[in-house]
């Protein structure tokens, strides 16, 4: 064995021991290239999802039905931008450059969550997104607070604290509609009908078809399987829907005494794959809007840089 190979072996042993002891891996620690690549892919995709996720909701800011709802929605959208920034900072600790990540998003070389390719057709969709989409995100994200990579785990702690408001405001919004006029109740039910199945798809493909799952679990990036988290989410939502006075659009949904869980119907994975492939209702619109926002912000970034240069601030 050469000296270099022996060194690599020793480094790997330290890394493995840290994982086994449930310690966190920190930016300057040695880590396998595949661990780094896999984290960059996952955290970048997560960051992209946060900032693309602004679009379907921001769509409703100007049409919010009251000043209270408008202020809440603006605060939520600002949080989503903040979550994107926490995550871009985390992924940069792995040596990725933010500029490259945005470029990959803009050119379709990195993905974001497929859920944001669905349109927000009515005001009730803002409520359904808060309750179901943010609810599914929380179910996914809470275990990530214990993920093996320190900066990602710390970003997730901040994010999870803030997501709780997102989910509750959505639930409250739907509750107001559900207790309102018949037309308002119908609007709430229609939004839940449209967002339920895409929300279940947010947990990713079934365990036996999930490409990255096994390795991510071994690296303690992922702590629970897709199907396990999906089941947890369904079990949480059923009683919440009852309290809302709304139904979930699944005739096969029923309590299974033996399993101690709710059974639910089959998910349309063909639809999921189509949306991932770029053929969802809003894929093209989301990316073109993101690129336009980036281009239209260029003069602000240029002006700030020119000001800093003129005043001779420290630049790296």
């Amino acid at each position: 064995m050469t000296t270099m190979a022996a060194d690599a072996g020793a480094y790997e042993a330290v890394f493995d021991a840290a994982l086994a002891a449930d310690e966190r891996i920190e930016p300057r620690d040695w880590m396998p290239d595949e661990y780094r690549t896999s984290l960059i892919r996952q955290i970048a995709q997560h960051a992209h999802s946060e900032i693309i996720g602004i679009q379907p909701e921001a769509n409703w800011i100007t049409r919010a039905p009251s000043l209270r709802r408008k202020a809440i929605l603006m605060a939520k959208v600002q949080d989503e931008a903040g979550h994107g920034l926490y995550l871009y900072s985390a992924v940069e600790t792995l040596g990725a450059r933010r500029e490259d990540l945005l470029d990959k998003l803009h050119t379709g070389r990195q993905k974001y969550s497929s859920i944001f390719n669905y349109p927000t057709l009515t005001w009730a969709d803002v409520g359904a997104i808060g309750w179901l989409v943010d609810g599914a995100a929380i179910t996914n994200q809470v275990p990530l607070c214990r993920c093996s990579y320190g900066p990602y785990a710390r970003a997730m702690v901040r994010i999870c604290k803030e997501e709780s408001f997102h989910q509750r405001q959505g639930y409250e919004l739907l509750l107001a509609l559900s207790r309102g006029t018949e037309a308002q109740r119908a609007m709430a039910q229609d939004a839940v009908d449209r967002w339920w199945w895409p929300s279940l798809m947010m947990f990713g493909p079934p365990d036996d078809e999930s490409a990255h799952s096994a390795q991510s679990m071994a690296w303690k990036i992922k702590r629970h399987s897709n199907d396990e988290l999906r089941q947890r989410f369904v079990d949480i939502c059923v009683p919440q829907a009852e309290s809302l006075g709304l139904t979930l659009p699944d005739p096969e949904l029923r309590w299974n005494e033996e399993r101690g869980h709710y059974d639910f119907g089959p998910i349309d994975w063909a639809e999921f794959r189509e949306v991932l492939r770029g053929n969802g209702p809003c894929n093209a619109q989301r990316i073109s809007q993101r690129r336009r926002a980036h281009e239209e912000g260029a003069w602000v970034r240029e002006a700030a840089a020119a000001y800093a240069a003129k005043h001779g601030e420290a630049r790296s």
Partner: protein, 99 residues
């Protein structure tokens, strides 16, 4: 440099937040900004949206000198063989109080 208008062209800053008076500033995260004033404003928006802080420091990341994780053991080793620095090193007879 400034012709490329992407944020990553800007230096990275480390953000430290004092959550309330009486506590020290704690590292909260990092962000990009063209200068110190913008870094402070961005840090206010990014890390204190819910009254998390009463004071913020921003430091250019390039100015941080860190110990190397590779030399972790030898670097911190001098403290390991000096147990007499800890109060538990000393045997005190039963019944002696306030010590």
């Amino acid at each position: 440099m400034s012709t490329d208008a992407n944020g990553s062209d800007w230096p990275l800053w480390e953000v430290f937040v004092r959550s309330r008076r009486g506590l020290s500033h704690t590292h909260a995260g990092s962000l990009h900004a063209p200068d110190a004033q913008m870094a402070l404003r961005n840090a206010r928006d990014l890390y204190t949206r819910r009254s998390e802080g009463v004071s913020i420091w921003v430091v250019p990341s390039a100015s941080v000198t860190a110990s190397s994780p590779d030399e972790k053991d030898p670097f911190f080793e001098p403290s390991a063989d000096k147990p007499y620095r800890h109060p538990t090193f000393y045997d005190i007879p039963e019944g002696v109080r306030h010590l």
